[in-house]
Structures are given as C-alpha cells and as structure tokens.
C-alpha cells in the first residue's frame, strides 16, 4: 500500500513541478497516439462504411480480416512493422525505424481494424431504408454519407474510444519499432515498462497515473460528446 501512495505522491510531484523528462514523454505519447487515431479514423470510418453499405465480392473475407484485427497482439504488429521498416526491409529506404513515425505506423495498424470493425457495426445498425430516404430527398453520395455518419455517431464515437484505448495502452509495438530511446521515442507505456524493470516502482506508478489521467480525459471528452443531451 505504501508503494501505491508513494507512487501517487510522486505523480503529483511530477505533475506540479512539470518534470521536463516526464513532460516530454507525455507530449510524445499524445502526439504519436493522437496522430495514429486520426489516421485510423480517416481510414477506418470510410472502410467501415464501405463494408457496411456496399455489396462486393470478397466483402465477407474483408470483414473477417477486420474483426481478426480486434485481437491483434501489439507485439505481433511490432514485429511485422519492424520487418518492413528494418534497413533491409521493403520500406527500409524510408529510414523510419526507431522513430516516432514508426510508432505512429504501428499504432495505426493496431487501431485501424478496431475503428473499422466498430464503424461497420455502427453503420449496420442504422435503418437500411435511411439511405433510400436520403436519396429520395435528393442527397448525393457525399451528403448521404454525412447524414449516415451523423446517425451512427454514438457507435462511431465508441469506435474512436476503443481505437484510442487500444493504442494508448499498448507497449509491445512501441517498444519494438521505437526502441524506447530517451528523448526520442520513449512514450508513457514504454517508460512504465522500463521503470518497472529497473525496480523504480514509485516512478512507474507515477507515470501510470499520468497515463490513466490522460486516457480518462480523452475518454471523458468522447463520452460527453456521445452522451450529451439530445432534444426530448
């Protein structure tokens, strides 16, 4: 118990004194996971919409692949992204290995299937005649998509929360493709892992409290957007 209180005290201390190293790690975590979730939304939501609203050969296979991604172990993603980004790999010429960009790629690979699968479910729950109605009112393809997104907003916000939760909490992929380099690729989860391995439980708890706090702020904002009062 003493260890937990010590960790919380240290977390407050780090937050109040704005510890430079922890601030840098926190900012990098936000940047990397923020960019990854943005990419995942841009790719996953239209992909989910296409899978939900269009019929084409191979659709069922793509849905099963997307759902497989829900259980994709981050360390497996880290391994495959490493293979691709490694100097001798197919994308080695990009020179991205052990950079924040590599972590963004790995986290996007983790989050895209999550956002896609949840978006697919959100769009499929809509009344199938809604599209017909929008078309009959004269809506073009983009206008129809816009209104479908609005109607599916509760499920889509859940998709974003699930995607963000998956990447802000993962450690395996960030460790493998980022390398946990101090001042360059160290993010909150890899920092916690490292502090634990060094036996610095107080520091590890402190960073974990910051991580939890950040995650809560994001999820609370999304929950507010999702649950805010609608007209009765």
């Amino acid at each position: 118990m003493e260890l937990i209180w010590e960790g919380i005290r240290e977390a407050l201390n780090l937050l109040i004194n704005l510890d430079l190293e922890v601030s840098a790690v926190t900012l990098l975590s936000l940047e990397v996971s923020g960019l990854a979730i943005l990419l995942s939304i841009l790719i996953g939501v239209p992909l989910g919409a296409a899978l939900a609203l269009k019929q084409f050969p191979g659709r069922g296979f793509l849905v099963s692949i997307s759902n497989l991604g829900l259980g994709l172990p981050p360390v497996v993603v880290g391994l495959w992204v490493s293979i691709f980004l490694w100097r001798s790999g197919p994308l080695g010429f990009l020179g991205m290995m052990y950079s924040p960009g590599a972590i963004v790629i790995a986290q996007s690979v983790i989050a895209i299937p999550v956002v896609t699968s949840f978006s697919l479910a959100a769009f499929q729950q809509l009344n199938p005649r809604l599209r017909l109605l929008l078309q009959s009112l004269g809506a073009n393809w983009w206008q129809s998509l816009w209104y479908l997104v609005q109607e599916a907003r509760l499920g889509l916000l859940a998709a974003v929360m699930a995607g963000f939760g998956a990447i802000i909490s993962e450690v395996g992929a960030s460790m493998m493709v980022g390398g946990n380099i101090k001042g360059q690729t160290r993010v909150l989860t890899t920092a916690v892992s490292m502090e634990v391995s060094k036996g610095n439980f107080g520091m590890a708890i402190a960073i974990s409290v910051i991580l939890l706090l950040l995650t809560y702020i994001f999820v609370a904002a999304m929950t507010w957007a999702q649950q805010k009062r609608r007209p009765l």
Partner: protein, 222 residues
C-alpha cells in the same frame, strides 16, 4: 396536353425475374392516382422507379416529353418527394427532420424556417417542433414524414402505404387532413395502398396492378 410523366414499354428485371412490365402509362399534371394490388404486384417498385431510385431495364420514362435518362438524376429526385411505408426519421428534432430535404437542396435558412413552420401548422404538429423524433407516436411520426415530403413542394408526390400500421382513428384523422392538403399542394400524387377506402377518399383515378403489370385504371366518381 403533354403528360407530366409517361412510361413506355417499361420492364424491370431483378435477380432474373421481371418485377415490372408496363406497356404504356401516362400521368397528367396535378392528378391523384392510387395503385392497389396484392403483395409483390410491383406497386412499391413502381414508386421507386418514378422516384429515380431504380433504373428500368428497358423502356423509357418521359418527364414532360423529355427522356429521364437525359436528365440529371439528382435534379430529377429534387422534383419528387417520397413517403416510405415506414416513417424513417433521423435521431434529431421534428423540425430538423422536416427541413432535411430543404437543407439537402441548399435552401436558405429563412426560407426553410418559413416553410417548415407552415407545414408544421398544416399538419397540426406545431407543438411537436422541438421534440425528438425518437419520442413520437406512430401517427405523429407519419405526420412528420408527410410534412418532410410536402415541405419540398414536389411536382410528383409518391406515397407508399402512408397509413400502414396506424390504428383506425389515426388513419381517419390523417386521411381527413390529406383530403384537404393534397389538392391544395398541387402536387401530382401517386398513392400505393391496400385499402380501397383510403384510395376513394384521396384520389381521382384508381389503378390495379398484378404481377408487375397495370391491369386496369378507372376514374372514381367525384
């Protein structure tokens, strides 16, 4: 007199089955026509075709003598309004639902407000304006759905079983209102129904469909 719409040798084949086969049909402007017939006769499919939501396999649909294929489909849809069997409403306020088509058609806000207020009043649902569409009864939802179509002042109004699954009193109230509203609106109207009394109350011409064909049309006594 050039008819508003003319269907010539129309067929529609879906999954290898001919679901519509109409040799010749004309619809004059500002008339009201009902289609009756058994389930699967092609009544609702005909409405979807006229709304520009389905394309005929063969044949031509002419609007004021001009082939629909030479018109922009989005523009054609903006001349029509359809009320579906089920009142599909957005999870928004009643006002927002009614002005949806006007927003899609990029009408200015003052015009939207004026028209929505007018149709809220004409369909006796002004009191519901700010209520969520989720909280409506079946009859109220049907009125909102009708207002959403009528507010567009369409040239062609397509009503697909608009009283479906409503109780008798609600249906009678709605028919009484529509008996006044439809002639006032000036829209050429097609009603699909299973109930002769609904047709008799609202239209001038009653057509019967069977197996995708229009088998008869006759004028109803005034």
């Amino acid at each position: 007199m050039v008819p508003l719409l003319e269907l010539e040798k129309i067929t529609l084949v879906r999954s290898g089955r001919t679901v519509l086969d109409i040799e010749d049909f004309q619809l004059l402007e500002r008339t009201r026509t009902a289609f009756m017939g058994p389930n699967g006769a092609g009544k609702s499919t005909l409405l979807l075709l006229l709304a520009g939501l389905l394309t005929p396999t063969t044949g031509a649909i002419r609007y004021r003598g001009q082939d629909l294929r030479s018109l922009n489909l989005d523009l054609w849809r903006q001349r029509t309004a359809m009320v579906l069997q089920e009142p599909v409403l957005l999870d928004r306020s009643v006002r927002r639902n009614i002005e949806l088509g006007l927003i899609i058609r990029k009408r200015p806000a003052p015009e939207r407000k004026r028209k929505v207020d007018e149709w809220l009043e004409r369909l006796n649902i002004t009191v519901l304006a700010d209520r969520s569409a989720r909280a409506l009864s079946g009859g109220e939802a049907r009125r909102v759905s009708l207002a959403r179509a009528l507010v567009l002042e369409p040239e062609l109004l397509l009503l697909d079983e608009p009283f479906n699954s409503l109780d008798e009193d609600t249906t009678n109230n709605l028919i009484n209102d529509l008996r006044r509203i439809l002639p006032e609106s000036g829209a050429t109207t097609i009603l699909v129904t299973h109930h002769r009394e609904e047709a008799v109350a609202l239209v001038e011409t009653l057509c019967r469909m069977e197996s995708g064909r229009i088998v008869s049309c006759r004028q109803l006594p005034a």
